[in-house]
């Protein structure tokens, strides 16, 4: 199958019309079609996670809850977390925009391994099916963090099915990550040196490195979790000789880098859009690029900041605190550079730019509130409260989802050959920015007053 790179409107056939049978879609190895398959499936999960979120908020209307038991509520927020993290946030930008654009930006016909690309989608679907099964069968009540020994010895939910789902999704991530790394190394057009690459590719690269290095740790951790739950092999449960903190170390060793998997591609999108709508090159290209790489590296060294009150040693807390401040520096550099890009440009405010500005606004707030929880003594008071909920939703939803929508709007004409109604695009961007703040800003205060999360 030939990948059509040129303008779709001028050709009778495009990747969209070239074969319309279901078979031609399900067996395609074309990166553009796979991007669309992914787009459809992650949108489905975005809605499932979104419905869970809406039900969580609905239940919180009354102090005693609106939807029955505490058990149901716990299952809801667990499902919300699991679905949003592994089935939306982590894959979102790389598998859709990344898949579609990476070969185009590289000047290649396709990714290095088109079949692996398709396999990764099937793995995602398989994982999604397992997640849906566990949801329909009754869900899990452990929280998306699966802390032990609650998960291994006390939970009554469908833990194993959920673990299987995440385990498989992990392999899908690894396949995607490998594909990008190898494509970027080998398929760059002649003359495209590393420093001539679009920033979006750099951020995909940094993301993929994390995916490939961190996801196996998650896989092993989940296997151990399953072993302990099924065969009662003592790994994490102190009652059978395990160590409950070991789980947290392993889990966050993956999950902290994973938050950068979620946000780095977003940085890439914004770094493309802000220059485009400022009519000016990106300010400080090399700084933006190297800030992505340093985030990828340092993000592996900060997992302990999730455990400042968990019972680790004082010294380790000191080390993880300073490293957490360090990992915030490159993000700050990016924000300054985006603003620097606007300076002296010729700025237009189409929907993608509005989303991008919304991203900068919300991400900055999310990042700044990260400083509160990196500063040790402040973290003691704020951690495990709604403050943390607000903080990571500012980064993940305010930041990442805004960036994803910015990218979807920006490249929508390229993907579909059609243009969206500009005015509605802008209205959407503005509503999301203000609605988001309305929803999540009060949670910072709730957290400060001590309201526990969950």
């Amino acid at each position: 199958m030939s990948a059509v790179i040129a303008d779709t409107t001028k050709h009778a056939k495009s990747y969209l019309t070239d074969g319309t049978t279901i078979r031609s879609w399900l067996l395609t190895t074309d990166h553009k079609r796979i991007a669309l398959l992914y787009l459809g499936s992650i949108t489905l999960f975005f809605f499932i996670g979104g419905i869970a979120a809406a039900l969580i908020r609905y239940n919180l209307i009354a102090p005693r809850g609106m939807i029955g038991s505490a058990e149901t509520y716990n299952r809801l927020f667990t499902m919300h977390g699991v679905v949003m993290v592994w089935f939306f946030l982590i894959p979102a930008v790389p598998v859709t925009l990344g898949n579609f654009l990476a070969p185009l930006m590289l000047g290649a016909r396709d990714l290095a391994f088109p079949k692996l690309n398709l396999i990764s989608w099937y793995l995602y679907i398989l994982a999604g099916a397992a997640a849906l099964y566990s949801l329909i069968a009754g869900g899990v009540d452990t929280g998306w963090t699966f802390y032990t020994p609650l998960t291994t010895a006390y939970s009554k939910g469908h833990v194993v099915a959920t673990i299987v789902a995440i385990f498989i999704a992990g392999f899908s991530s690894i396949a995607t990550g490998l594909n990008f790394i190898i494509s970027i190394h080998t398929l760059r057009a002649p003359g495209m040196t590393w420093y001539k690459m679009p920033v979006f590719l750099w951020s995909l690269y940094a993301t993929s490195v994390i995916l490939v290095l961190a996801t196996p740790v998650l896989g092993m951790t989940l296997l151990l979790l399953a072993f302990e739950r099924i065969f009662h092999i003592g790994v994490f449960d102190p009652a059978i000789g395990g160590d409950p903190l070991l789980f947290q170390h392993l889990f966050w060793f993956y999950s902290h880098p994973a938050v950068y998997v979620m946000i780095l591609p977003g940085f890439g999108v914004i770094s493309e859009i802000v220059p485009a709508f400022s009519n000016k090159g990106l300010f400080g290209y090399k700084f933006v690029v190297w800030s992505s790489i340093s985030i990828a590296v340092i993000s592996f060294l900060v997992w302990g900041h999730h455990m400042f009150v968990a019972g680790t040693s004082l010294y380790s807390a000191l080390v993880f605190s300073i490293l957490s401040f360090m990992v915030a520096v490159p993000s700050a550099i990016k924000v300054f550079n985006w603003i620097g890009t606007m300076h002296g440009g010729s700025v237009r405010f189409d929907a993608p730019m509005l989303y991008a500005l919304g991203f900068i606004g919300l991400f900055t707030l999310g990042g700044l509130t990260g400083l509160f929880v990196a500063a040790l003594a402040a973290d003691v008071h704020l951690t495990q409260t709604y403050f943390v909920v607000a903080h990571f939703h500012y980064v993940m939803v305010g930041g990442m989802v805004s960036a994803y929508f910015a990218g979807l709007h920006f490249w929508w004409p390229k993907i579909t050959g059609r243009i969206y109604p500009e005015i509605w695009g802008r209205v959407g961007a503005v509503i999301i920015f203000f609605g988001f703040n309305l929803n999540f800003f009060p949670q910072f205060l709730l957290g400060y007053y001590g309201m526990p999360r969950r």
Binding site: A70, Y154, S155, D237, L245, N279, V309, H343, A378
Partner: protein
């Protein structure tokens, strides 16, 4: 509830200063970021008549400048937060010890004098209190927002937390680590009272003797005395048939272990000796002490620990 969260402990205000300093700094940066976005959006909007810069703008100087300023500010914050954190978690040696056993979904408190309470903790004001906490099942977290402190409560080990309440009053206690179905209901209160009232409360709730005394009874009942001798004076004497180390004067002292290391006999050590003896064998004794895991509840372990702590060194003959 007043708008401000009360500062009930010595360090609560200090934590707030840190938080408010970061708030102030964040507001400044937010102002800078939002301000310059709005400014540039207006000034450099397409079609406005201003000088534009090409892509050739020099960036190194300014990049280095804002990177180093950011680094410097972050380093300052780190020092501030770290210094206070270390103080938040280092109990003064003279702290009054109170024992906390968490379980799904309640807090069980035990006082030195044997007083017990559930989902409530009575403490005197003006005196450092140190909690020795453990869990019977999953991980919980002891959190009192008015004190600005919290710490996870883990099964299988002792974690500690300390505070000194300055203002008498009733303060909400939360579990802030998700621990299962009724986690949200796992709340309680800390009642801080003036010392005379506290003494009175202790008296009114006085029960069958102090924790140490109750521990002494358990020491007999669980058969510890069979090996360690009555009053824990040691085995292999007239008192017992086997060789077991004396427990008198054990607490706080160094213990040489079989693997050559030397540990300090604190609460956690004694706990491990009872529940996980195979983990820590004392040098020079046969490894015959059985594990009491599953037979002795966490609360009874605490009483045994209290009893062993109370055993003074043998007076020289």
């Amino acid at each position: 509830m007043s708008f401000w969260l009360p500062h009930a402990t010595t360090q609560a205000a200090e934590v707030d200063y840190l938080i408010f300093a970061v708030v102030a700094g964040s507001c400044a940066i937010l102002g800078l970021v939002y301000g310059s976005i709005i400014l540039y959006a207006i000034r450099y909007r397409a079609g406005s008549k201003v000088a534009r810069y090409g892509a050739s703008e020099k960036s190194w100087g300014i990049e280095v400048a804002w990177t180093s300023v950011t680094l410097l500010v972050f380093f300052g914050l780190f020092i501030w937060g770290a210094d206070l954190y270390v103080r938040l978690f280092q109990p003064p040696p003279d702290a009054l010890k109170v024992y906390v056993v968490a379980k799904q979904w309640m807090w069980k408190i035990e006082h030195h004098g044997g007083q017990r309470e559930i989902n409530a903790l009575h403490v005197p004001v003006g005196q450092p209190i140190q909690l020795l906490m453990t869990s019977e099942d999953v991980i919980h977290d002891f959190s009192v927002p008015a004190f600005r402190i919290k710490h996870d409560v883990l099964p299988g080990r002792y974690e500690t937390l300390w505070f000194q309440v300055e203002t008498a009053g009733v303060y909400r206690l939360f579990c802030t680590q998700f621990c299962g179905a009724d986690h949200a209901q796992m709340t309680g209160e800390v009642v801080a009272m003036a010392p005379p009232e506290y003494e009175q409360w202790l008296e009114q709730n006085g029960t069958s003797g102090s924790m140490a005394k109750q521990g002494g009874i358990l020491f007999m009942r669980y058969g510890c005395s069979g090996c360690h001798g009555g009053n824990g004076i040691g085995g292999a004497q007239a008192t017992s048939a086997v060789q077991a180390p004396p427990l008198t004067g054990l607490y706080g002292g160094p213990v040489p272990l079989e693997d050559g290391s030397i540990v300090t006999a604190d609460e956690s050590y004694i706990r491990d000796c009872i529940l996980l003896p195979e983990k820590r064998r004392v040098a020079g004794y046969p490894p015959i002490m059985p594990s009491f895991a599953g037979q002795v509840s966490e609360e009874d372990v605490l009483k045994l620990v209290a009893y062993i702590k109370s055993l003074a060194p043998e007076a020289p003959p």
